[in-house]
Symmetry: C2
Subunit: 330 residues, 2 copies
């Protein structure tokens, strides 16, 4: 009998989280995490992945190659999910391209393995045990370092012609606007991601604007152009302290996030949008303003039809979803 226990891994831009999951209940039996390192070469990236899985198995009281039915990995990069190959992941390892991760996992753990992107696994997790569990159709939007999305139609994740459906962060919302990390212009992600907010805040600090951030995050001003340095928790704290600069930055981001959501509402007419990701979880003002603005900007009919809710599984949506795909792998 196949066991109901699978391993799910969420390999993101800041950390790798691996969990052993009971996929019948969504319960997490053991977890481990490691920091991500952009300097990893392909071998190191693989070892970081294996090491985290090994620790998660240990923390669940399982040994390697025992009692698990499969391994699913979601990764913050471009994947060829059909063949289980990581095509590239600039935020995780500049040096890694075309790494056959699913194959490597199969060899090491002797169980089936799958590879998806990090947003897709989170959507599957929310679909099974979170804010999408009673819905056949919904759109997930996760705001973090970037902005990712995934939509579920008739109970299935829509993958698209080449597995990249759901890239809501790359909706053009401001023709000829800000440069996006992808090279495009005016994309949602360049206005409403945590990275975008951080860059706007750093710019203002450099212009001499006062902010409590000079105390809460004294090194922020020196951050390289990456703009990933401002943690969501610190942003939330500054807003609790009524810091003008941070309130302005979040209000701006929420305005544009609302426009992007309105576009998605008009095009897809979803019954529900699930908003998640670190900055949405930490900063309730972003959720509140973006939801309100999305409804205002959307056409009346689909705007009334959509519920906008928070993701429910937090950090665990990814590992739970990944474990589910791992258990289904062949």
């Amino acid at each position: 009998m196949a066991s109901d226990i699978a391993v799910g891994v969420d390999f993101g831009g800041t950390k790798v989280l691996a969990s052993v999951v009971d996929i019948k209940t969504g319960k997490i039996l053991g977890s481990a995490k490691k920091r991500t390192d952009q300097n990893d070469n392909p071998k190191e990236l693989g070892e970081r992945l294996f090491g985290t899985i090994d620790e998660a198995l240990k923390s669940a009281g399982l040994s390697k190659k025992q009692q698990i039915t499969g391994i699913g990995v979601g990764i913050a990069g471009q994947v060829d999910s059909e063949n289980g190959v990581l095509l590239g992941a600039p935020n995780l390892s500049q040096a890694t391209v075309n790494l056959p991760l699913a194959e490597m996992l199969k060899k090491r753990y002797d169980v089936p393995a799958t590879l998806l992107n990090d947003v897709q696994i989170a959507a599957i997790g929310e679909s099974a045990f979170g804010a999408g569990k009673d819905m056949d159709n919904f759109l997930c939007v996760f705001v973090g370092t970037g902005i990712g999305g995934a939509f579920v139609q008739n109970g299935d994740l829509v993958r698209g012609a080449s597995g990249s459906a759901g890239e809501i962060g790359h909706l053009v919302i401001d023709a000829n606007g800000r440069l996006c990390g992808c090279g495009g212009r005016g994309h949602l992600e360049a206005y409403a991601s945590r990275t975008a907010m951080t860059l706007a805040i750093i710019g203002e600090l450099k212009r001499g604007r006062s902010s409590i951030l000079t105390k809460l995050a004294p090194d922020l001003k020196d951050d390289a152009p990456g703009g990933t340095a401002l943690r969501s928790g610190i942003l939330a704290k500054a807003i609790d302290e009524k810091d003008d600069l941070c309130i302005d930055a979040v209000r701006d981001a929420a305005y544009y996030l609302g426009l992007g959501l309105a576009s998605a509402i008009n095009l897809l007419n979803p019954p529900r949008i699930i908003l998640g990701g670190g900055v949405i979880e930490s900063v309730s003002m972003l959720f509140d303003l973006a939801s309100k603005h999305a409804r205002q900007e959307a056409l009346a009919t689909p705007g009334k039809a959509v519920e906008i809710v928070r993701a429910e599984l937090g950090d665990n949506s990814g590992v739970v979803g990944a474990a589910i795909t791992g258990a289904r792998a062949t």
Copy 2:
């Protein structure tokens, strides 16, 4: 035995076209058309519809209530397709709201009848006999008075939570940009529809810019703000004559249409986009530039994966698709 003959009606902003269609082959057995009149009251709108259907039946050599299996209507307005009710259609009749058109058709012709919007029926027509006939997944985009869209997923039209999925004309592509007819700002339709092009051209004519249009369409400058007066054929002719103003207007529209298509490509990752509508059919420069720009602006992976093709059924996509839905009606 149910016959394979059904009536399809495409009730658009400028004309009503009704056809008797062999839904097994897509062949049109007879057609009729009438102009649309915005001054219609609900009764007149109904009579315009009935009159066109009666003429189409006659032209196919059929009598009323005989030999047809159903009637499908696609209409340029907001519809409640579940109940066959026209909620409102400002471009067809300011006075008409909540008209139970399907019920009225059933009563008069004694066959099942359905109501969808005009873009949805065109997508169904292209799906069955046109540019989508070999595809389970595609996005249709029709450029005319407005810009409408519809997408087909796993062979079925995606309707969304309240039947309005596909409204690509109301993607926000320019935050804080031009006012759209819907009241929103910066929507694709306000930049790339025939109406948008016409308004831009009229503005330039009023500023004194010279153009062959002063000969081809001498009354254009006096057009009311509706901006629907410039026919696609005249625009095409002016471009053939290398009219600078019209070339600029189409180039601008194609630029923005490309941005909107890129957004849709990034979000949906469709294997194919079918572009149709009067102005796409008449003005090949619009199709060519918009397709090229869409690929350039889209993310690399979905941009490479998408084919962009022309609709194949022209004016008939709507009536053929409508007839198919009529034949399926119960």
